[in-house]
Amino acid sequence: MEMIEKRERRQALLTKVIFIVLLLVIWEVTARAHIFGKRSEIVFPTLESIGKAFIRNFTFGYAGTSQWIYILNSMRFLLEGLCIGIGLAFILSGLSMVSKTIDTIFNLCVSIFDLLPGVALLPVVIVIFGVKPGVIVFLVVHAVLWPMSRNVLDGFKAVPEIYLEAGRNLGMKNTQLLFGVYIPAATTYIVSGLKVGWARAWRGLISAEMIFGIASSPGIGLFINQMRTNMNNAEMYATLIVIIIIGLIVQYGILNPIENATVKKWGMTK
């Protein structure tokens, strides 16, 4: 069994590698063949120039500010927003389990705001608060709060009655039930909420930064936009790669380990 599994995994990896190499070859051929005439160098910079731009972004950066600074700023906004958003989602969903009125109102809010793109809120938020780093954090919170809440609420409602009765039988009440039964029993939902929430937050963050970068604390979205306005297309592509790498690190470095340590370990999901 294990042998077959290992072989299948190796084959899957090989397929992925071949696919990526193939894409890169096609890219390089397109770049070198100058298919788009004079524009070719701008639309399809060679892999070599993208690679050099990748390094240059970190060493020289834009106007002397390394891309590290941009990345760190974005990460700070993201982390702040995620913490506030996830915290609020748990608090509000928890309150919804206690009070029917809160439940009704909160469900309505989730239904309405989940459909409202953060960037559409941007003009309103700027008019009210002005252009501050807090605005970007606000948008990240908006991006993560609603999908996370939807999942946590659904998860709490799907907790099997038997776990609750077993818990009550052991003398558990209110907050003990919330932390001891509701949250662990809803972990499958919570983890999928984290995945959706993080993805929305990441996208929301980049869009917000692209639309209005804050000079005092510039983020990665602003960086890519600056590259576009300056026609530094190789740098632009290099930044795209950085954005993808950050996404992969979060997925494989944070989310997957969380899943492995909880729902997979407990046999609640395959």
């Binding site: 038997i162 009765e165 009550r168 039988n169 052991l170 003398g171 029993a185 407990w266």
Partner: protein, 250 residues
Amino acid sequence: MSAILEIRGLTKAFLNTGKKDKTEVLNNLNLSVEPSEFLCILGPSGCGKTTMLRCVAGFESYEGDVLVNGKLETGPGTDRIMIFQDFNQLFPWKTVEKNIQYGLKLQGIKDKAELKRISDSALKKVKLDGYQNFYPYQLSGGMKQRVAIAKAFALKPSIILMDEPFAALDAMTRTKLQKELMQLHEQEDCTILFITHNILEAISLGTRIIVLQTGGDIVVDKKNPIPKPVTPDSPGYGPFWTELHNALYA
């Protein structure tokens, strides 16, 4: 000897959904259970057996009084531990050992060595020594029920309430678990209320057997006259079986 469990005038009605009328499941049920009794409750589906047990456990609201050791009960508590038929009554996010220790921790036992000692001895009693660190999904149905039994006994409740805990098991596992439960009942000196549809199971396990009919009407209430271990060959088995069978299918 004073009763460990006293049920007085227990009445329970469920509101019919969408209608204004009610269905009365239990009507003025009175029952008194002595300490160390193994009370088996037989009855057709819908007679209110499970509802009665759930009222005693404190999971339902009801009219009437439930007294344990002379004290009026108003909600769930660890003096009455319920073992369900559903195999998924253990918390899947806790290991076997932690499932057993959880209730003890809530009771205020903080010492890790003490917790370990109690859970180890409970697991030994249900022949699951060595499964301490398994997660429930890694166990078979019979093993899960064993853990549930170990968990209940570890808490040393006054009464253990069992709602057809072996009904979903295969015949061989069922017989094994019945034997183990009987041994535990003798060793641990506890009171058990055990619901079943199976007359043989009731005669094999119970020291006292009652038969409920619709509305929670107790139509038979007898000490079990058959000496243990019970086989179909035991003297008096046939007539007792017939009596219970007739009361059940009346």
